[in-house]
Point group: C2
Chain length 241, copies 2
């Protein structure tokens, strides 16, 4: 049997050419691409195919198409990956357990890296979130603020891990979390909000990071994640009744 | 100040409409989309915009466009995510340490899940890879076979974890690993191949999974990952001299 010589569509070949120049370093962040007319002449393909290729790269977060100015190389992993993941999750009949497990994969390692890499400034920023959490336990709690503080804490942790790949993957998983378990924090906090569960667990994680103790940070995060899984399951079961 | 009413491009609105129907479950895997002409009439936009939107969804792995047959909903996370990640990695001047750390994030949790979920059949399949590894230690080793067995072992582990989201994310990280540290396995195996490092470490992981001991499996994987990180660093340093 013979191999097909090229089953690639024209716009895919356009993408490949641009991709190749990014991967070999010829095209860098901020660079402006030649105009669509020039690209069409250089690659000897229709402007429609050029435009289709550029649209794809734009949606992937690799090209920023500014009206009247042209197409620029950028890199925005958030824009690029979130939506396909949500669709693929839905098309595969994913469950909230899949998402919680994925989240745990990240949180547990992030907290270890954070304990190894937190600077004094990082610790102070983390502490200020913790202080706000403590305040919330002393007054009738405001759910919106608590949800926001929770998010802030976990996002701060990943930025302290200082690995932008892990941060990017974590942000993808967070979007899935927000899109499909959007009311997760809400439900858990409504039903299980208490000093122990939220303030004390987060504070224990913060203290382990401040003390540069990755194993303890891991243990504390694990306890926190176990409570979240259990609480979400109970909150959901409760609702189903 | 007023808010912009719609700064979205037409093709982005086309994507959003299709995406919405996937997310609310109206469109399922295998469903055929209306023809481009029909879509253009229904959405009241040009066929060019319809085609641009469909191209994007095709490259994301959500639509399979079969010539002469039409556009079908599919879900292929591999196709969808690998290439943008590679480009974004390159554009952000990522390093091999970022990738190895990301990989560790997955491997460590995967092995715990695998220890909890491995069926007898899974264990037998894992054991047959281990048996092949053992054989390789008894004869002059064939690098290609060893590299392949190593890949097979790690891919089998993630499938045993039985969470397709984690599997998808792991596959994305594997592609980064292969694209940017493509010679990593090769280098490490050439320089550090020995019974202890490769066969015995993998065997210890296998035994922990067979014995349904997630904490031991985690410890053994951690040791394995530490050797890989150290070996890759040494192999690379050595080469730089």
């Amino acid at each position: 049997m013979f191999n097909s010589i090229s089953s690639k569509k024209v716009y895919e070949q356009v993408i490949e050419q641009i991709q190749q120049r990014i991967l070999n370093g010829e095209l860098k962040k901020g660079d402006k691409l030649p105009s669509e007319r020039e690209l069409s002449e250089q690659m000897d393909v229709s402007r429609t195919s050029i435009r289709e290729g550029i649209r794809v790269l734009e949606t992937m977060g690799v090209i920023d198409s500014k009206q009247g100015e042209g197409n620029f190389i950028c890199s925005n992993i958030d824009k690029s990956l979130i939506e396909p993941l949500s669709m693929i999750f839905k098309l595969n009949d994913g469950t909230w357990k899949d998402i919680l497990e994925l989240r745990e994969v990240f949180e547990l390692q992030i907290v270890k890296l954070a304990a190894l890499r937190a600077t004094e400034k990082d610790c102070m920023e983390l502490k200020s979130i913790i202080d706000e959490m403590r305040k919330e336990t002393e007054i009738p709690y405001n759910k919106k603020i608590v949800v926001l503080l929770d998010q802030k804490f976990h996002n701060k942790l990943v930025s302290i891990s200082k690995n932008y790949l892990i941060e990017s993957f974590f942000l993808m998983s967070s979007k899935l979390f927000e899109n499909f378990i959007e009311d997760a924090r809400d439900k858990i906090i409504s039903k299980y909000w208490s000093k122990e569960i939220l303030f004390e667990k987060h504070n224990a994680i913060y203290e382990a990071i401040r003390d540069k103790n990755p194993d303890l940070a891991y243990e504390k995060m694990k306890e926190h994640m176990e409570i979240i899984g259990k609480s979400y399951m109970e909150a959901t079961l409760f609702e189903d009744c």
